[in-house]
Structure formats: C-alpha cells, structure tokens
C-alpha cells in the first residue's frame, strides 16, 4: 500500500546522518590543550568536553572553525588532558542517559544558577545574558530606524498556506547553508529581529548540529531570534531548539523527536546517546529543562508543577509533578496551550501582527525581504533539485545497466554517454547539497567508483 505523505516524510531520518552528526557549539575562546590519541595514529589537539564509557566529546579547530566532535571509545587509544577542568561548553544537566532511568526529580527543579537548562522555565531568568544581548541589538537598530524594530520572517519549511507545493525536509529543502547565506541579506537590510517560522515534519539528524551552531553562534549573536511554531516535528523541533524565545500558532505543535531509520527502526546505542547528549546541550543553550526534550526523544514520563505564587515551572522526568504531560510509555509533543501554560513558549500568535505584539514590539518595519525571498526560493529550488535527483539517479541506473548488457560497442558508447551525463548532473547537485546523496547512500566514493566503472566499460571495446 502506498505510503501517505505524512508518514513517508518521517522515514527520512537516517542513521548514517546521525553517525556523522556532532555538536558544533563554539565557545568564544578555548585552548586546545588536550590530546586525543586515535587508533589510526592521529593525535588530535582538542579540548575534552565530555568523556563517557562509550565516547569522547571534544572541541577542536577544523580549518579555523571551532567544532565539537564525538569519537567513539573504540576509535580512541588514549586521552591526555592538560588540565583537569577545561573551559567547556555550557554545562549539561546530569541526566542518566538510560531510557528507563529514573532521573532525580530534585535536579529538574534546581535554581537557574545551578542548572542553566532549567533557567528558561523561570520567568525571572528569561531576560538574562542572551536576551540582553538581543535587546541591545534591537535597541541599536531601533535608533537607526527612528525607533521601529526591523523584523524579518524566514520560513523554516513551507508554511501550511503553500499547500504542499514543496516538501519540507530538514537537511534538504530546509538547509543550514541557505540560512547562513541569508545572514548577509539580513545584515544588508539592517534587520534586528528574525522570526524563524517553522512548519516542517522533520528530516536529517545530520543537519541538527549545523542549525544548532548557526542559530547559537550567528543568529542569536546578531539578532533577537525567535521561533514561531506552526508545526515543528522531530528534526524541525531540534534544529532551532537553541533559540530561547518560542511562540506558537494556535494550532501549533512541537516535539516527537525520536530518531529512527527505515521502517520505523529506532536509533539505538551510541547513536542514540549522541543525539540525546546533543539535545541536552541544545536544551541548555535554549534555557530549557532537559527533561522536556528527553520525553520528546524517548519514552519517558514528564510532569510539571507550577508555583501558584511565582508561576515558576518545575519539571520532573517522572510522574511526581502536579500536571502530567506525558505518560512513561509515550513520546511527548507540545501543543500551543500547554506550551504557554508551562512557559515553554511565551505566547500564542495567530498572525504576524499578534506575534510582534506578543514580542512586545511597539513599532515594526517588516524588513529583510530579500532574505525571506532567498530562503523561500532556496526551498523551492532544492525541492526541484531533489525531484530531479531521483530522475537522474534512475536514468543513471538504467543506462549503466544497458551499457553492461549490450554487446554492440556503438550502443555501449551511447549508453555510457547517457549514464555519464546523468552521473555528472547528480554530481553537480551533490555539490550544492551533499544530503541528496543520503537518500541513496551516495557519497564522493560512490561517484568515483561509478565513473571508473563506466570508463572501464568504454575501454572494454577498444
């Protein structure tokens, strides 16, 4: 039976992508004083962020860009630390990674100073460092523009109003490379506030770290960046999770972040631990309790208590809270009313006017039109390319097969020519977005091998 659109979209989280994924949260300054000795002989200068029985997470510089990578312990010979306490990424909540573990309820309710991940649950903590920075940026821009905020809305996935015009896969249509490019256009128009309007059913886990890093290190530093949720499912919830300010549309939903591949096969083992860890860090940067995202990723109970006097929300990774949000055997997804009630989101906004009012903006200039258009066009173009990719891939397979079967050298030449043309077209597309290859397990090596094979076929007749 054909797969209807909704479920098919969710079959796209690939294990391969997870293995490639690594957090990319760059700290402003760090010394690469530790050394990681790998079994392949390499010695990597790095800063060890975390070490567990299964993996070592390190911060290192790749081509001058600060990057966080995870190495499985099986790859590592030894870890030599220069200092016992390297300046690390934001402290992650100490949650037992076992799916069936019973986390410490008290830990989930620690004050903001002890547990940054919980800070956003407390109204008093929401206006701290991150927001002050954003507010300063917004203030500066307001001065330039006679007091009005310059707000751009960028579509993270095609809004519902596009009516299925294109697909909305994170990593394909919604890709971090385009969002990085859009920064120039936002700056060109003196944008001070960016609304990330999310409507996507998820995508490749590979893309999470790219988006997390881009939002944390670029967008949050430059603009007041808020997420406006229409539907943020799976990777579409995880990618912008480092943002601190969330708003929901009235029918909005966010969650269901379980990683899987193929016919609903869970991501397990190290792959699961890595993505849990990654989202713990994203929770910390987004100033949210890690318990929330964990219940979205694995079957874990989630409850909360709202202090009647202060309105402060305390989260529990079990059923001990006053309000039961997720039973222990289910996966959690927020809807709008609860998101606001439990201070996960700041407000519900049905349209952009309501949104800016909820954001407290008195005067607004809708700006960044070029950036908005660029992102929209990129999604459309990528969608066309994705469809074209499948056609070229089939064309390649067809003519490659015919070239191998035919006994006629002239025909073989024609078929090889067709196969090569398809291969080159695919290669061109692959260069624009390597994630296309993940759909068919294609990488650089695959291109090299097949080019070699086609040349061999041609030589056969000489």
């Amino acid at each position: 039976m054909p797969m209807p659109r909704l479920p098919r979209r969710f079959f796209r989280s690939l294990t391969a992508a997870i293995v490639l994924a690594g957090a990319l949260f760059a700290a402003p300054d760090f010394a690469l004083a530790d050394k990681l000795h790998l079994k392949d002989g390499r010695v990597i200068d790095c800063t060890v962020v975390r070490e567990t029985d299964a993996f070592v997470q390190v911060k290192l510089s790749v081509g001058g860009i600060e990057t966080v990578k995870i190495f499985q312990k099986s790859e590592v010979t030894s870890v030599v630390k220069d200092t016992p306490a390297s300046p690390a990424a934001p402290e992650s909540p100490k949650t037992d990674p076992r799916p069936d573990a019973k986390p410490d309820p008290a830990a989930a309710g620690q004050p903001a100073g002890d547990k940054p991940a919980l800070a956003a649950d407390k109204p008093a903590a929401t206006g701290d460092k991150g927001n002050n920075r954003a507010e300063k940026i917004a203030e500066r821009a307001k001065r330039l523009d006679g007091g009005a905020s310059r707000v751009a809305i960028l579509n993270f996935g095609a809004p519902l109003s596009w009516h299925d015009e294109i697909a909305d896969t994170v990593g394909i249509q919604v890709n971090a490379a385009a969002w990085k490019e859009a920064v120039k256009l936002l700056d060109k128009d003196n944008v001070d506030t960016v609304v990330v309007r999310i409507n996507s059913g998820g995508g490749l886990l590979l893309e999470l770290s790219r988006f997390n890093s881009l939002f944390e290190n670029v967008y949050k530093k430059k603009y007041r960046t808020v997420a406006w949720i229409e539907s943020a499912i799976s990777a579409a919830a995880m990618a912008p999770y480092v943002l601190e300010e969330f708003y929901f549309m009235p029918h909005g939903s966010l969650g269901a972040c379980t990683g899987f591949s193929g016919a609903l096969k869970n991501v397990e083992g190290v792959g699961l631990q890595m993505v849990l860890l990654q989202m713990e860090e994203a929770s910390a940067l987004g100033r949210r309790s890690p318990a929330i995202m964990r219940s979205m990723q694995i079957q874990a109970a989630l409850s909360a208590t709202i202090d009647p006097d202060t309105g402060e929300v305390t989260w529990f990774q079990d059923k001990s809270g006053e309000y039961q949000l997720n039973p222990p055997d289910q996966i959690f997804t927020f809807t709008a009313n609860d998101a606001v009630k439990f201070k996960f989101a700041r407000a519900i906004a049905a349209n952009k006017e309501e949104l800016v009012a909820a954001m407290g903006l008195k005067e607004v200039v809708w700006a960044g039109v070029e950036a908005t258009r660029f992102i929209d066009e990129n999604m459309r173009a990528t969608d066309r390319t994705e469809k074209r990719w499948q056609i070229e891939f089939r064309e390649f397979q067809l003519y490659f097969g015919l070239a191998g079967q035919t006994q006629d050298p002239t025909d073989r030449g024609k078929f090889v020519g067709k196969a090569l043309a398809a291969l080159r077209e695919m290669k061109r597309m692959f260069a624009t977005n390597a994630n296309f290859g993940l759909m068919n397990n294609i990488d650089d090596e695959w291109f090299e091998n097949n080019e070699r094979e086609l040349k061999k076929l041609l030589r056969k007749d000489k």
Partner: protein
Amino acid sequence: MKTTRFSLVNACANVARGCRPVLAAVALCAAGALPALAQSTPAAPIKDSAAAPRKVILILKDGRRVEGEVISETDAAIKLRVVIAGIKGENEYNKSDIKEMKSADAPTTDAPKTDKPKTDKPAIKPADAPKDAPKPDAPNTGDQPDSSPKSGDAPELGGLVEEQAATWGDQKWRIETRAVPSEADGPKVYMIYMGGEFGRDVSFTPMREVVRDIKKYEPDVVVCFFDTDFVRHGNEMEAFQNDASSFDQLEIAGGIASLLPTRNSPAGEWTKKPRLVSWVRKAMGGAAFLPFIAPEMYYTPDANHGGIGNLEHKLDGVGDERAREKQYSLRQARGEGLCELGGHEKKIMRAMARTDYVLSVKFVDGEPVWYERMPSNADEILLTDDGKEKNADFGVDVLRGKGNDTLVLDASMALRLGLSRGTAENLDDLMDRMGLSRNYVLIKGRGHQILREWAKKIDDAEKQITRLQRNLREVRVKAPGDYNARSRARGERKTLLNKMKAIFTQYKESLNPERLGGAENNLMRIEIQLQTIEAEQLADKRER
C-alpha cells in the same frame, strides 16, 4: 411562489419523518411563509406570546446546566420550555434543586413568530430584529464581524435557494428558510455542504474554489455543514468502527482549515472576516478533525462525530515501539492543534483518538471539569476507559454505540461537554441558536455546485485512467513491425503515459489509491516507463 413551495417541502419532510410536525409548522407559520399550513396546524404550545418570554439558564445542584424560556414560575418551581437534543419540550424544576439561575438575556425566537401576521413576507422585518441585543450563543472573541443587516448583492442572494436545495439531496429540508430575498436584509449566511467522502469529494482544490466563491459575497456567517459518508477509499464503515488511518487525512483537514476564516487567517485575507460555524451531522473518520477549527460548533439531533480511534494501533507490527509512539504523538498533537485552533478542549480529541486514554468528567456549575483517570466520585462520568481487558468494549456495546474505549460524540454529549453550543435540526433552528433567527439571508453561492462538479471530475478521471491503462496494455507494434512501426508504438505509449501523468498530477489529492494505486507511486512508475521507452528507442536500430 418559490418560497411557499420550498416551505411546503420542508413541512412535508418533517411530517413524513415524524419529526415534530407541530413545531415545524410553528416555525414556518412564524415566518409567515406558509399560512395555509399554519392555520391547519394544531395550536402551538406557546402561551403568552405577546410578550417576549424570559430566557434563563439554570445551574442545577447535580451539575447540569439547563437553558430555556420561562413558561411559569412559582415560589417552589419554575417551568421552562427547553430544547434537549434538538427536541423541544417543557420541564418543571423544583427550586430546591436549583443552585443558580441566570438570565440568558437573549433575543427570543419562537414566541414573537407566532404573533406576527401570517403573510408571505418574513414575519420579522430587518428593522424589527434586535440588532444590538447581546447574543449569548455568539463567541465573544472580539474579532467577529458586525452581524447587523447588510444590503447590496440583491441579485446574488436568495431566501430560498433552489439550486442549493437540489444538491442537498435528502437533507435539503435542512436549509429551507423563511426569509424572502426582496425583504430579508439581515446577516448573510453562506452554507457549505460537506458531503460524500472526505478527502475525495471534499478536498483542498475544490474547497479553495468554494472559499473564493464565499469571498465574493462577504458573508457575515460561514456555516460548514458536515454530513460526510463514513467511507475510506470507497469502503464504507459502520458508525461504531474506528478508522485510525484517518490521521493520515490530517493534512487535508489542515489544508482546508488554512482556507477558511479561522483565528489564523492573516489580516487582510478577508475583507470582512465572517463567523465560522461548524454544524455537525456526520463527521466520522478524517472528516472528524475539521469541525473543531470553528469556534462555534452545533450538532444535529442525530449527529455522530468521531470514528478516529485506535490511533495507538495504527502501526502495529511495524518497526519499533518507540518509533511508532513518535508517529502517534505527532499525529495526535496535530489533531489536538486543530482542536485548540477552534478554542476547544484537546482532551476531547485525545479521547477520540486513543483507546488507552482514560477520561472522566464532572460538571461544576454546568462547566466540565476533566480528570484523566477513572471516576472516583459519584458525580463523575466516565467518558473513555483504557479499553484493556475487562474494560474492552464488547461486541453488543459496540454495535449499540455504547462503547467507551474511544469517544464518539452525539448531540447531547457534545452539548454537555460544552463543545456544542446547541442542537439544531435545520437551518432555522441553527440561526435561532446563533441568535440570528429573524432576518438572515442564505446566500445563493456556488459552493455545493463546485464540490459536486469536483466529485464528478474525480469519477471521470478514474474512469479515464482505467481506460488509458487498458489502452496502454493493448498497444501493439503494427505490421510490418519495422523500426518505424516500433517507433510509432513507442510514441503511442508515450502519449498515453503522458495523458495519465497529467490526470494523476491534476487530481492526485482525491484519486482512490485502492482502485488505482497511490498517485505518487503511479507518477514515479510513469516516469520510469517513459525513461525506459526512451532507452529502448535509443537502443533500437533501423533494419538494414
């Protein structure tokens, strides 16, 4: 006269069904539409009609909330004219059983009607309507349009709409109205009849056209009447069944929701944003999601709403449990999102969707208080149990619609839960409940026609595809069978394939995948076949 003829049909239909003939006649004569029938009707059970009856809301000590018109009142008791599950009647309540009595303070409906002269004209002219009177049934959202009488568009409007009635089949009596085009000048009402199979006959593309049509008229109210068949891909289902695959139609519901005047409609999309009303008769399976998007919901007395249960078994046997739970969670949340869009309690949607969800309710001052557990006190009512072991519904219960593993709403429960604002058997009833009873105008739109035309196009498209597939199979290389003949045959096949491709592309949202295979899969197969033909052509050679 058109007016009379349709009213007569209405009355006859009511009598024929044995449905409250007296009251139906009262409604008709009140409108002055059918004097002869009104005169021959036994006296209506309405007294003291010269004065507008007082409407009150009683909050009873057992939690029930009763609204009605006061017939008489003593120190010990109060007698009300009430409507329960669409049936009007009189009930007396001991004052000792009443916790609180509030004034409903609403414009009355039936009583003044009986007082009016019985002419061919509307009983109440627009000027008589209490325009400024508060309407208790109307939502106080602050963004509702002014429902005061509008003028203009006279040629486009009709009190009785023959063309529409014709398309409503055996439900046409529901939309008859007592308003007369030349005189009625009240709020304009656009009705959409959502019948047939949801996702096939009611889908995004025709609904986009319907909404374009609605916008032309700038109505004050858009009523979506849900009377869909409980059918999935042509397979009829029984009212007691659950279709967990309905959740795959959420995107259709979401797409249609994005067209209608909901809370989400961007500023400026509607010149005048109308009130959106859902009126539910049968919304089972995929259609069950859509009524929730309207802030105002009403039900017919024989309504059924649900049939989306067993979500947590939708993917049984596929993959791993955690990944399956993810799929359930995101679907459930999207369904609940549509519920919240209309401002309704999402627990109702959850109880409709999951068998393992336990929901009880009690009524405090007539308002529901929810408990996600089995009842623990006598005043709590179990809506759905966990459906496990001894709680699993038995066959007979299921067949009688008495099961409680998943929630299927009828008119009375929807009303009690506060989801429904009232029970209305026909359009006049509905307008009464909405406080628009006197002078509304039913717009003669093309909505029904558009949906029916679409349904016909889908039927035709499926037949055409079947014919093209047969023709494709029958393409043969004709004599002499040479290169040219082979090329011609390939050309024929390409032409047929391209025709199929065009049809699948145009109608893919509605074509029956069980009859034809999924449209996307078909499109992919066609592409592969076209590519293969190209390759064959490339490999072929002229004879020497």
